[in-house]
């Protein structure tokens, strides 16, 4: 498409001037500044200590825990979302904007308040245990555990997994599924050979939208972890707010960024398909 527009379009590129300036000033320069902080100490001289601090036992423990939370969160989000979308499709809720509405609406209640509500549900004498004991079950103790954090992040990021999977599966041409059935494919074969492969872009973009944020969040672990369980986000946040240790915090941030950059090639493949959002 770009080539076919010929000469008149090449004049149009100046329109992006303000945006390119914006990227330079508010995307590139801040990154340079954070790199500078991460590579210097309080006196301003060069050091690698802030970056290598990643390998200290406390930080390694937090990073490993963050990774487990992010991995588990992505896994459970897929596990919950995929059957949800298939069930919605089965019930014929697919093309209706009502079903999108159901998924999006919770995001309009402030997320910190929603996580606080989970704290009330999951606490030892909270609503969940009230329900369990009234049904004759043993109460569970998950308040301030990693399980509580996991429930919180899965809840928080579930819509970000549901939406892309929903869009990928609802876009599948019904004729393809019919054709596969006519040719004798069983329900499971249709799923394995048609629906699953065609939903991969949705799964990938859902993973991108869930993995990084759940790895770096600090509010959920703050509220549901009772302050004892730390994600790497908590440590960075404390470096800036409580500890006033900006150089160390920058070093950890840069290390995090490098980790994300390494995982980027895996997402870059489907990036240019750019679907318009169907939320509105």
């Amino acid at each position: 498409m770009n080539e076919s527009e010929g000469r008149s379009s090449s004049r149009r590129t100046w329109l992006s001037g303000p945006y390119i300036l914006w990227i330079a000033v508010f995307t590139i320069l801040p990154l340079i500044v954070i790199f500078k902080y991460s590579l210097t100490d309080n006196a301003g001289s060069f050091t690698l200590d802030n970056i290598s601090a990643v390998f200290s036992p406390i930080n390694m423990k937090a990073i490993w825990f963050s990774f487990k939370i992010a991995f588990g969160c992505t896994f459970f989000c897929i596990l919950l979302s995929y059957p949800m979308v298939l069930a919605m499709k089965h019930l014929g809720l697919g093309k209706k904007s009502f079903s999108l509405f159901i998924i999006i609406l919770p995001m309009w209640m402030n997320f910190i308040l929603r996580i606080l509500a989970w704290q009330m549900i999951l606490s030892n004498n909270g609503l969940l245990n009230l329900l369990l004991t009234s049904l004759g079950f043993e109460p569970v103790r998950i308040a301030n555990t990693s399980a509580a954090i996991m429930i919180g992040v899965v809840y928080d990021y579930l819509p970000y997994m549901l939406l892309p999977i929903y869009m990928a599966i609802m876009e599948i041409n019904e004729d393809l599924i019919e054709a596969a059935k006519d040719l004798g494919a069983s329900g499971f074969t249709v799923f394995r050979k048609v629906i699953l492969p065609l939903s991969v872009p949705g799964l990938l973009s859902g993973t991108v939208m869930v993995f990084v944020p759940s790895m770096t969040s600090f509010v959920v672990s703050d509220i549901l972890g009772g302050g004892k369980l730390q994600l790497i986000g908590n440590i960075i946040e404390q470096d800036f707010t409580a500890g006033n240790n900006w150089h160390m915090g920058s070093g950890l941030s840069v290390a995090l960024m490098i980790f994300i950059l390494i995982s980027m090639p895996f997402t870059a493949k489907h990036e240019d398909q750019g679907h318009e959002s169907v939320i509105w």
Partner: protein, 268 residues
């Protein structure tokens, strides 16, 4: 067999819906709780809804949040739409380069974006409403570009060229041909940006400085001392208002979808 599948599907959808809405229900119930404590039920009351409107701090934070969301998404549209048009006209190589840069704020962790912006801002502006606005514009522009770009790619450029050949000026052609074609993308980009700005906590938290509060940062500040019950009331009101808006918008867009085909050209 099919019947069983129907029932199972229904149960599962219901289960996820309960999961999504359980905490929201808890918050709505709390907004009517006469006790200040979160764990005891002190009877039904409307009083938090009344005191909400005399709570200057909360209303201030609400105003800041809304002004910030409207302002940052409007400016993001003004910068992002021409940006997308310009980038689209570039060579494949430059196009990929700039779209890659556009993805940085989206792929980077919020905490890193927030900290990087804060470290940069402290060098030349005081942290406050202005710095938060700049930060929100920065993470909003990519949403605008990514929702407008598919529209631009689908656009029939010959129509634009034809109007130019027939003597229309570039500005006239822009408003008569390009803008209507891009409009659905612009609208969805604007609302995406608006939603992201309303919902943001992390980036605001790091770039805001001491004086300003959005609803998110105010709620975060109240966690230790206990959330003011008025906050539950306000959230319930916002939730109900957004529900109504979404129902209306969805109904309109459903109707529009059935009336017009999405071909574009006949709309000129």
């Amino acid at each position: 067999m099919r019947r069983l599948k129907d029932i199972l599907s229904g149960i599962y959808v219901g289960f996820i819906a309960i999961l999504l809405y359980a905490p929201i229900l808890v918050l709505i119930v709390l907004s009517f709780n006469d006790s200040r404590s979160r764990v005891t039920w002190g009877g039904f009351t409307f009083k938090w809804y009344a005191t909400l409107f005399s709570n200057g701090q909360i209303l201030d934070a609400l105003l800041t949040t809304v002004v910030l969301a409207l302002g940052s998404s409007a400016i993001a549209v003004l910068i992002g739409v021409p940006g997308a048009l310009g980038i689209h006209a570039m060579s494949k190589k430059k196009y990929n380069f700039f779209m890659g840069l556009t993805n940085i704020p989206m792929l980077n962790a919020d905490i890193v974006t927030g900290i990087a912006l804060m470290l940069w801002f402290v060098h030349f502006i005081p942290l406050g409403f202005g710095s938060v606005l700049l930060a929100h514009i920065t993470f909003n522009i990519p949403y605008v570009i990514l929702s407008v770009m598919p529209r631009i790619q689908q656009m029939n450029v010959s129509v634009y060229e034809a109007t130019r050949d027939l003597g229309a000026g570039p500005v006239y052609s822009f408003f008569k041909v390009l803008l209507p074609e891009m409009m659905p993308g612009i609208i969805s980009g604007f609302f995406m940006a608006f939603t992201m700005s309303m919902d943001d906590f992390v980036i605001t938290y790091f770039t805001k400085g001491a004086g300003v509060n959005t609803l998110s940062t105010m709620i975060y500040g109240q966690i230790r001392k206990g959330i003011k019950p008025e906050m539950y009331a306000l959230s319930t009101l916002i939730f109900i208002a957004v529900s109504i808006i979404l129902i209306v918008v969805n109904n309109i867009s459903d109707k529009r979808k059935t009336v017009t085909s999405d071909n574009g050209i006949e709309r000129i």
